[in-house]
């Protein structure tokens, strides 16, 4: 069994959304994913990182977003990827509500409220752990069939 893992943290600047996508793509290139698989993963990472920045931290540039990516390679199995995006920000009041399509707490801003919907459609499994006033971790799991 072969395992690989990376952990980064970066300032809660929207510029870093592209950086997060590129970093995860570069790390997972080792697995030789298809273009579609990589695009799907980029979408999920982009949504989760954006949520951390604009909701977790309300775009506070003094804060850091944490991104972990790991994968396991087992003899007869397709690679299994786990990605965790963590913020130590305000937390989610009601996770089920937050995960509902079109729900957003963004007020007037042009926000579609589709972040979780997109994540759920492009990866196998999405788990959300959150504590008010403490932060949120979104865990994405995808197996590269």
């Amino acid at each position: 069994m072969y395992q690989n893992k990376m952990n980064i943290q970066f300032t809660s600047h929207s510029e870093n959304e592209a950086f997060a996508r590129a970093t995860v793509s570069a790390f997972l290139a080792q697995l030789d994913p298809t273009i579609d698989q990589l695009y799907d993963i980029k979408m999920a990472v982009s949504e989760a990182v954006t949520n951390a920045i604009i909701h977790g931290y309300e775009s506070d540039p003094t804060k850091q977003v944490h991104l972990m990516c790991e994968y396991k390679l087992e003899e007869t199995q397709p690679p299994n990827i786990i990605i965790e995006i963590t913020d130590f920000g305000q937390g989610i009041v009601n996770i089920d509500e937050a995960r509902t399509a079109l729900f957003t707490t963004a007020g007037d801003a042009d926000r579609a409220g589709l972040g979780f919907t997109v994540m759920e459609s492009v990866v196998d499994n999405v788990e959300v752990f959150s504590e008010l006033g403490k932060g949120t971790t979104v865990t994405l799991q995808k197996q590269l069939f």
């Binding site: 929207s14 954006t50 997109v118």
Partner: protein, 111 residues
């Protein structure tokens, strides 16, 4: 994300090049809103030929532009969306509000 714009009669043509995410959506919104007002155009046409990625922030940006145009009875039109980018447009249901056309000529002809 690079943005090029043109005014053609009463249409603001917006040519996007690069990735559309929360960061670039803010820039697109500011640029488009300012020009839309300044030139008093009615419709907005987004040229997606060189768009390589879009997440749901792009959907929010398009929805916001839809809201601006609908007030004056205008339309938002999309042209040349790549298949991978089309995924999120389909998923969001935004095609109920704005149509995808093969190219600009077809889009303008359908106004």
């Amino acid at each position: 994300m690079k943005i090029k714009t043109e005014v053609q009669n009463n249409i603001l043509v917006v040519r996007l090049d690069g990735e559309i995410d929360h960061h670039s959506s803010t820039l697109i919104k500011e640029t488009v809103d300012q020009l839309y007002q300044k030139h008093r155009v009615r419709h907005i046409l987004f040229d997606f030929k060189d768009v390589t990625f879009m997440d749901s922030s792009g959907i929010g940006m398009l929805m916001g532009r839809y809201r601006s145009t609908i007030i004056g009875g205008g339309k938002v039109m999309l042209v040349e969306v790549k298949p991978e980018v089309d995924k999120i447009l389909q998923l969001s249901g935004i095609y109920k509000l704005m149509k995808l056309y093969k190219d600009e000529t077809v889009a303008v002809a359908n106004l």
